[in-house]
Symmetry: C2
Subunit: 77 residues, 2 copies
């Protein structure tokens, strides 16, 4: 992984397990962003192509994990 990796989540159980089980196990550093608390990062996540959380963005590639909650739910909450 060349550029910074970002793990977008909303603090749900799937998010927490995903973070513990494999995001914390990545060799490169990953920034964890709780979109429920950091609403100012929603635009950035949308621009990166995030459609649901949890999602890992690495080198411009988006990896949605386990059909999580749609990002619209976070925008409208």
């Amino acid at each position: 992984m060349n550029t910074k990796a970002v793990f977008y989540h909303a603090g749900c159980p799937v998010c927490v397990t995903a973070e513990q089980q494999f995001v914390d196990n990545l060799k490169s550093p990953v920034e964890s962003v709780h979109l429920g608390l950091q609403k100012n990062r929603l635009d950035e996540a949308l621009k990166a192509g995030v459609k649901s959380v949890p999602a890992l963005v690495v080198d411009g590639n988006v990896f949605h994990i386990n059909y999580g909650a749609g990002i619209e739910a976070l925008i409208n909450s």
Copy 2:
């Protein structure tokens, strides 16, 4: 990650990117299983709870990545 991690895939572009971008970046060793070629591993994947590929199974937790192809497609092919 305590037990062995297994990355189930079918060689599709999403699978290859996911494998390169983050499976290869995990600190612990991960076994990569191409379910299109290793049909004998389908039962094992189903028992682990895999519903679509690519999917990473770690310590009994299944992480489906990016709404991939349903595993049924591999069973019937």
